[in-house]
Symmetry: D4
Subunit: 253 residues, 8 copies
């Protein structure tokens, strides 16, 4: 009873006497009670999202035990969904592999994954640029996530602003992107510089790389939020996954 | 069409031919579209809340122009609801009085109010205790709000912890409370001391009173959040209204 | 000598010569010296609290050694009081069990407990809602504490705001609560949403779950303090115990 | 001299003797000195951006005097470019109008604008959702900016999370968006809730609306950065312009 | 009835029949009700303090209206107590002078005062050292307060650490102090240096003097709290009064 | 050559011809070169301090290796000075004991000490009050340090403000103090309450005890700095040593 | 008595009996007491500094009244020294001009100055680069100060990182500097980029330009402190004077 | 083709027919494509820097695995460049030594180095002053780095402001410096005091030494940024390397 047509049919049956009013009332009440979800479209949206993006359930490994991660992973895989676990250590992978033997571990990204569903390809390339080699774990979390979500990814690492020529030498690759993820710690200046060079959306990811007055990534975060360039928005410190999810949404528009 | 009885009636009318199916479908669709609110209970909750607490709409005056406040106030009063505007200055009251002549201004609480509906009385007394005379505007916001919501209010002012005898001399009034709102700036120690003396819920309101390392009420806020006494919870700095709303909910249980 | 009747009797005895003035003076001085506590009602309040709530002494395990915890626990149990230790690890439980063999360890709540006294039942149900699975340790601390204090507790876990349909599907359980404890980390938005759905007091507990700009729970704490919903008050980050103590006080009104 | 063809022609002229080497050298040196910009593509990028987005120069009015703003505005308009001044007060508009009589002032957005160039239309609708009426200045800055950049804009105001039914009643308008800008102060929970309802990119704009522990928008900012929903990125506090620029880039992909 | 002797007398009178038991009971009950204060010694302590220090009531003018200040001042003076108002502007003085014509205004210290009681002289000299001329209002608040409390005060101004010879040239005056108040803004280094030169208690007062990363005195406050010298304790930013009260307590030991 | 008497003697010898001028010049030059310290009084002050307080050199163990601590300790002891090492773990004690066999380890205070010089007794008692049992390490650091500096120390532990009767029951011991050190974590309210009860200097020591919004002692620190009581000054978080040094200076006046 | 020759002469006179020992002792004691300053060379250093840099006394106008500024200025000018007042408003200049008619006001730098002494020229050029037009007041404070201290100054304004070509187009001017002052607000990325382009010392000056999460220049300050480029050091927010003083010291080496 | 002379020659050859236009065009295009880097001078600047300073590539060991460090080190050494690794632990040195056997480990500075190129000597002495023994690791990082960059370094350790005579006794060594690096934790007052004594540039390095309200070096950092002395600039907390690089740049001017 999820369309006006079905309602019309029911009323017609009542009018004709084919269905008695007690039965009709039951069906209507059932529809009413079910509707909120249907009407709100939550389930549909979720389903839609899964079809379009291929990650109906993502597990944030941080703060979960290997056993907990493995249990949720098993459930997701049993439903036939694609598995994606972020912030997963070796121990988590061992636990997951015991119940999901085909799962893959991307150690440099701290990601466990198993693709079980086809994923719609994004329209262009997602460039993942990183300022320094210490930013790579976050950059790889972003890159792997974007790939698993169906995006072509180009990596552009070690292009920090203190050696501008390395960055300028990659202008063409930057220009070829549909959306750029920029990962940087310390002063977090790279997104401003890149956004000034190109005309595509830049998702900035501050990292906790640094020491002293970096305050765990706060300096980079504030730098990115105060970017004087247009076309920059920011995600949480070290949130490579979040940047990739945002970039993938954009790249699938 | 907000009850099963009405649905049953409609179906009976359809079955009898008193209502044709086109008309019935229209009514059902209208009900479905309305239902999400009804089904979710949002409107009912709101209505319920209004009947029970007497403040279906509260206007936070902060950051609104007198004209904006007056326009919203006029709309609320026209609906027959009780009016409550917090953080309202003289200018706001002038603007409101022009459209709601019967409105009252409680200058010490910065509140504009007009009671238009009966309010259910709370079960006990809400004590509003304040540490210093500078905390009175916030204390009065709490006290007036609690009164407008149907609570008996007892004020206990200038009972800061540095002169403990003043507080201890009021033990009986404290003990008579069903819920206590404690308003304090500076180090915000009063809620801990009071909660250690009584066995009723204490709602702590830090105020921005102080200077230097009070950092606009941060010191008092942190002090209250770290209270070593049990039975204390905290609202935002200077949020006398929020404390009163919470206290009133408790006092009406 | 805790009533005026007793004083009258003493004076009558003095007047009759049944008691000499030296003896009478001793008794009076003793009463005077005892009174401050009696008069202040500290001991009574404490006793009253114990009878009503069943937790005359609660041990915060954090920052105490297993040996210290065990020593205090043994003393409490020897007095016949109910034992409640929060933030207790396995080692603390081992130490406690050696001296209090009947003690129970609730590992998911990090609580050691032994009920020795009857506890007055609260009037309604305390709902403990938690946004994510990582918030469960704090939620369980709240739930177990509330149960030990005599409250019926309903757990509502994994109902974060990003999947609103899960929360909306539990409206009836929320509506059945007399007071709701809402545990959430990250952005801490759940209390606002729940308080907007119901008309009962909401005790918000920010958790330190998150990373980067969550700053150890600060983001959730600030979110909850700034809640735009009415009927929300907040306790310290990760303070499940404090929320339960507050909720229990309310539920026993 | 911006193509190889032109170089070839010059060399041919030198080879034929039509151009002497001194003149040719001058032209080559001029080209070399110009090239870095050409080669780096900076100017081209800028030009490209102007054609596509229609805002080659945007003036942040904050911290500039009316006279300064007017002078820059006059220069931009003289070049035939579209004028956009943000954070502009009445006085700034008076000064601008004296030199750019056709300029329009959008007081609710604090924006001065004059469209002089055609602007490429975005592919879909940019929804601008705002939690409260106090957030409207920032929301309008975003909405007006997005419109000036060629986007169809739908406004969805006063849909804060404490009254969820208002938001849920607008699901269809949300679902119709290609990108959503969500403006909210206080606890900043709205982006999480909206991102959980839809599958399009959400640009979150914290506002400085609030008091006490909102710390000038910090609470909302942290809340948004810690969003548990996917598909959310964040711009600076009160940065309606930045959100619109980002949204427009996305909507023009 | 504030001594055992009086109790004994009463009991003797009852035993002799000179006082009937009803009258005696009344007197005893009155004593009991009064005792908590007496027994706790709160009133005595307050009285004692007034006699010893001469400032039974100090008014913090900050955040009070001139009318409020004047009303409290009139009450204090009427009781015969010494008047001390800190953080008082010209308008406050005008209001106070209208009701307390003999009051004096120390504009450089923002203090209103009227000495009405003799004050016990401190045992030694309180040196008030200030780093820069901008720190003088706070230094004068400290110096005037200390003087009103009966201390001999020596002022040592403009002896900041960047010109160490000025400070070293005053070693003898420093060495003559019984307690030293050191007032400094910016980096707040002066207390460390002075405490390293002398062997007397140093009360450090950070001031809000500075800009940028002084963050309203936070830099100076943190500097003083982290002093590597021994014999330094700190009061709130700009709290000249508090430093003087502490110094006076020490100087009267 | 550290006194005027010695100078006079030298000149007399020169005048008498007992010392030739070349020898006298050498001695004078040597004195001049030494004098800056003498003249500045640094060495004298230090010597004076040692005689009076008995702690010419104190080693902060924090951040030093056991080997470093032992080396400095050996040097101090070899000079005949009293040894005091704070923040010393078991390993540090092992290392010290190897070179200073008579050294004592106060594990509850994390202090290593060896008294080698007589110490001037303070004039009165230093009370060390602590709010909770978790504050004891800091309280013991203060108490042991004060004792080593020649002060009579009275310990008053577990007198937090949430159980005010315990504190009030100790009024006499508080009243007997010449100076009071108050150690408290969490909300840090105890110094305000104690300073309101007594008329002696209170040195407040915030501790890092707590969790969540205690932010490592920041809440307690801010609470103490904002104390509404007079006669309170504050030292760094966990700085029991600093409080004791300050208290000892005061107690020796 | 500032040389060994004078000492020798005195001793010879004593030995010859030309000077009695009492007189000699007085002279020696006087010399001892005077020496510390001479020996420390403080006055000499100051004098030396004045000769070399031409700014023996600089007045920070911030937080001083026009009258105070004028009084100090008059004193400096009377001594024949060069006058430099920073952070001076129009009113301050009016007051100064009344007593120092020849003083000049640099309104864009908020500086009052009067050169009275020759100043040693620096060895090279100090480039002052500024990111945006709103940074100019701070940049001008730096530039004017550097000029008054004897440095050749080149201004390079509006070269923010979002439009990199403007900066790159000025490489030659940057390369010609002996030391570069870089003034930037918002994300403060400019110093990193410039330091990566050149091989000379860069003094970074964060400005309070920005809004929201710039937190009064904190974002720029942290960005600069975390610069990934080598050869960058930082001064306080908005401290153009401090940067110029540092640059001038370097340029005079 | 990196000079105008070469261009002129080519054009002359074309004009004479010695080079055909196709060949000339190829050479010109090649020059154009190479120029951006040449024209920008990035490579040259880098080369210039290497020749002058001897550290073409510096590896920040923090956050890199020993394997990563060793791989980069091997590459640098293979190119014949001088190796400098900062923040390197023992494990990193083991890994580096396996591939670069001649590398040296300076454990007290946590630096791995191998000098392979001659380095230009700085013009004067770099003094590295440190306040306390706990600051030595940072001081040694600065000192070793400065030495490797060709500077004569004088170490001045344990000269904190609380014992001023130790510092004043080293005035001559301070005065002999061309640039001074001052390393200090806790309150960070040392740079102000030293800058007040000398007339040379002071690079201040806050360290994370301290506890409680030092907040990981924040107190020292803020103290240094707010220095009241002129001629002070600041680098990141614990950034001994950065201070040395800055000092070396200055010392090579």
């Amino acid at each position: 009873m999820t369309s006006n047509k079905q309602l019309q049919d029911l009323l017609d049956q009542v009018a004709r006497g084919d269905v008695d009013t007690t039965t009709a009332l039951d069906q209507l009440i059932q529809a009413f009670n079910a509707r909120p979800y249907e009407d709100l479209g939550f389930a549909r949206v979720d389903h839609h999202r899964a079809i379009r993006q291929g990650f109906p359930e993502v597990i944030l490994g941080l703060g979960k035990t290997p056993a907990q991660i493995a249990a949720i992973a098993a459930e997701i895989v049993a439903r036939g969904s694609t598995l994606l676990v972020t912030r997963a250590g070796e121990a988590a992978f061992e636990a997951v592999r015991a119940v999901v033997p085909r799962a893959t571990y991307y150690a440099d990204a701290a990601i466990i994954a198993l693709r079980q569903q086809d994923v719609t390809a994004g329209h262009g390339t997602v460039v993942v640029a990183a300022a320094g080699t210490s930013d790579l774990p976050v950059a790889e979390e972003a890159a792997r996530t974007a790939e698993l979500m169906g995006n072509e990814v180009a990596r552009l690492y070690d292009v920090g602003v203190a050696g501008l020529h390395r960055l300028l030498g990659e202008r063409e690759r930057l220009a070829s992107a549909r959306v750029i993820i920029v990962v940087a710690g310390m002063e977090g200046a790279l997104p401003s510089v890149i956004a000034g060079l190109v005309g595509v959306p830049v998702i900035a990811v501050p990292t906790s790389i640094g020491y002293g007055a970096s305050f765990g990534g706060l300096a980079a975060l504030l730098g990115m939020l105060n970017s004087c360039a247009t076309g920059v928005s920011v995600v949480n410190i070290d949130n490579g996954f979040g940047a990739a999810a945002m970039a993938s949404l954009i790249n699938h528009l």
